[in-house]
């Protein structure tokens, strides 16, 4: 059987449901005879999810597209670069890191107009600083 992205997603969701089902066993019981308690709803959902995943993985094996591994690579690269930028922003300050992150991001995304890239990398943070920090008083500089 060829590897399919939908099946990889189902595998991740299956693991998610199993972990929740296992964790739900440690939750306290209901406080009254009529209440179903904090564990029942997530347990039902997790069991239903596991059941549907197993049924669907078999029943619709002909309906899903094969995996394009470049999608997985792109997703991992974007997550890694964004995560790194956020970590750097927490260390050095959001508005100090953002211009560099934007410039690198534009270059990686394929833009080779260096002058436009520099202008954009300076202007967007300036607009955000003005709008969020000064006008809306939302302290994004403190990230």
């Amino acid at each position: 059987m060829r590897l399919r992205l939908a099946h990889l997603i189902y595998l991740a969701l299956l693991a998610f449901a199993v972990i929740f089902l296992w964790q739900a066993q440690g939750l306290p019981g209901a406080q009254s005879r009529r209440d179903i308690g904090p564990a029942a709803f997530p347990e039902w959902i997790a069991v239903a999810m596991i059941g549907l995943i197993l049924i669907d993985a078999v029943a619709s094996r002909h309906l899903v597209r094969p995996t394009n591994f470049s999608d997985l690579g792109l997703a991992a690269a974007v997550a890694g670069l964004l995560g790194l930028s956020i970590w750097l922003a927490t260390q050095f300050g959001f508005f100090r890191v953002l211009p560099f992150a934007l410039f690198v991001g534009l270059w990686l995304a394929g833009s080779r107009h260096h002058l436009a890239n520099v202008a954009f990398s300076v202007l967007l943070p300036a607009v955000l600083w003005l709008l969020f920090d000064r006008v809306l008083l939302i302290p994004i500089a403190g990230m």
């Binding site: 964790q23 306290p28 997530p42 549907l52 999608d71 974007v78 956020i86 991001g105 302290p139 994004i140």
Partner: protein, 504 residues
């Protein structure tokens, strides 16, 4: 009294800052709509946290402006370059781009704005006349009915997802499971937090929306290879409409507007589906159906009237029952909750002025949009030609800011990125993120009302069958679950593709 609500809404709308907010919202919405890959949902999701520091009225005016304009402006891209700016303008390409190729760009743009504004206003009238009486009915609802209604809302959205047979339901269950993270509302015990203090209050709603809609959209844009640089630019004043043309498209606009307004009020039938349905129905009733697809004025008018007809009427389930019927309505629900407003029947009792303010905002947004459509379309066409890397980086930066802004917590940004990557993979697998979002929105309501109903019941789960309205809604839910399964099973047996419609 409705007249008091209307007067209160009018006096709020007449404030200069509200009108300015509407103009800003419409402007931003135009920009999102013309950009292929971005739409009303990603636009509102990105900017909902920016409205956090604003008053409720200003915040709603901005978001309503974005929603209204983004649904229309996708047609500018569809007409000028033949690529739908949003999924809601896919059918617009068929005749709109044909007209451009025939040298009738100005006429096509004029038909589009005229039909969109008429459709939008018909949808707003439908919102007023449907939401008010439905809210009166909803006042009779108790916990069992709300549990059943929440379940039906999730089931309808889930049943419309393409891809694997049960993908929509699996993703909806995933969303429901996410909502169980955090303090249990009844016993106050933390669930599934894995020792992470950031999860004590549950998975924050706005970062989840930003991740699933905006971040995933930005990553998808990186893989988009459509050429948007070849657009023909119309003159500054591009309006070319006369009485004869108006009479020619009148019937199609009427069919599209009424159908759009009706379809928008139904949960899960969004502007994208209405765009096609309106187009097809107008062709069926046309005197010249053979012209459709070859540059028909009627085809373009019907497609545009129907998608804009859904915009305001999609708020009917949200305002009447507190249950969003579409992805953008779910974002608006998040915005309302952020400002301490709980939509539903009680809103009509406690703050009727705000309800009428929302109705009036939709009407005003359509009029502002008309001005943009008549003057300066050339500016928006220039925006279509903006290189994709700049759009991607703008969306990603706004996503980071949007996810951080609500709680000033970096954890929320990481969460948005994680959900964004997951959302991108879900899209690439041919599924939709909408069931996850709807389930995250409705999960708390479903569990709380399930448990409240059980606690108040002396017969256990029988309470759901003893109450007629709850029983009927649950029966619909069961049908919603099994009907697509039967249809798809038959489709597989015939070795043909599934018959489901795609959720935008």
């Amino acid at each position: 009294m409705p007249i008091d609500g209307l007067l209160a809404g009018l006096s709020a709308l007449a404030q200069p800052d509200i009108l300015l907010a509407l103009v800003i919202g419409v402007t931003i919405g135009m920009a999102f709509g013309v950009t292929p890959g971005l739409d009303a949902t990603s636009g509102t999701a990105l900017l909902v946290s920016a409205t956090y520091a604003l008053s409720t009225e200003i915040a709603l005016a901005v978001l309503i402006g974005i929603y209204t304009a983004a649904t229309y402006s996708g047609s500018i891209t569809a007409i000028t370059i033949g690529v739908p700016g949003t999924p809601a303008s896919a059918a617009t390409v068929l005749d709109g781009y044909e007209l451009t190729k025939r040298g009738e760009l100005r006429r096509a743009l004029s038909i589009s704005i005229t039909a969109s504004v008429i459709g939008g206003i018909v949808g707003t009238v439908a919102l007023v006349f449907l939401a008010v009486p439905l809210a009166d009915v909803a006042l009779l609802f108790g916990a069992p009915e709300y549990f059943a209604l929440g379940l039906l809302g999730v089931a309808i959205i889930a049943s419309l997802v393409e891809g694997m047979m049960l993908a929509g339901f699996v993703l909806a269950l995933f969303g429901l499971l996410i909502t169980t993270i955090g303090i249990d509302p009844f016993v106050g015990f933390p669930r599934f937090t894995f020792g992470n203090i950031n999860l004590i209050e549950g998975v924050p709603y706005i970062p989840a929306l930003v991740g699933l809609f905006a971040v995933s959209e930005a990553i998808s844009l990186m893989t988009d290879r459509s050429d948007t640089t070849k657009a023909e630019r119309p003159p500054f004043f591009a309006f070319d409409m006369d009485g004869a043309l108006l009479r020619k498209i009148g019937r199609a606009v009427g069919i599209g507007s009424v159908l759009g307004a009706f379809l928008g009020a139904l949960p899960a039938v969004g502007a994208a589906a209405a765009n096609w349905i309106g187009y097809n129905e107008a062709r069926r009733f046309s005197r010249d159906p053979k012209a459709f697809g070859k540059g028909s004025y009627e085809g373009l008018a019907a497609a545009e009237a129907s998608n804009n007809g859904t915009v305001s009427s999609s708020l009917v389930p949200l305002l009447a029952f507190g249950i969003p019927g579409s992805a953008t309505a779910a974002v608006l629900l998040g915005a309302m909750m952020l400002h301490g407003v709980t939509p539903g029947p009680n809103l009509f009792v406690e703050n009727l002025g705000l309800v009428y303010f929302i109705f009036l905002c939709f009407g005003a947004a359509n009029l502002i949009m008309a001005v943009y459509g008549v003057f300066g379309v050339s500016f928006w066409v220039r925006l279509v030609q903006m290189p994709k890397p700049f759009i991607v980086m703008t969306v990603l930066t706004l996503s980071v800011v949007g996810a951080f802004s609500v709680r000033s917590n970096v954890f929320d940004v990481y969460l948005a990125i994680a959900l964004g990557v997951f959302g991108f993979l879900v899209r690439r697998a041919g599924m939709s993120v909408v069931p996850i979002v709807l389930a995250i929105v409705l999960g708390g309501l479903i569990e709380e009302n399930l448990r409240r109903a059980m606690i108040s019941s002396s017969d256990g789960a029988w309470i759901f069958l003893e109450r007629p309205i709850a029983a009927v809604i649950l029966a619909f839910t069961v049908v919603t679950f099994f009907l697509p399964l039967v249809r798809r099973a038959l489709a597989v047996r015939r070795r043909s593709p599934p018959l489901s419609e795609k959720v935008s």
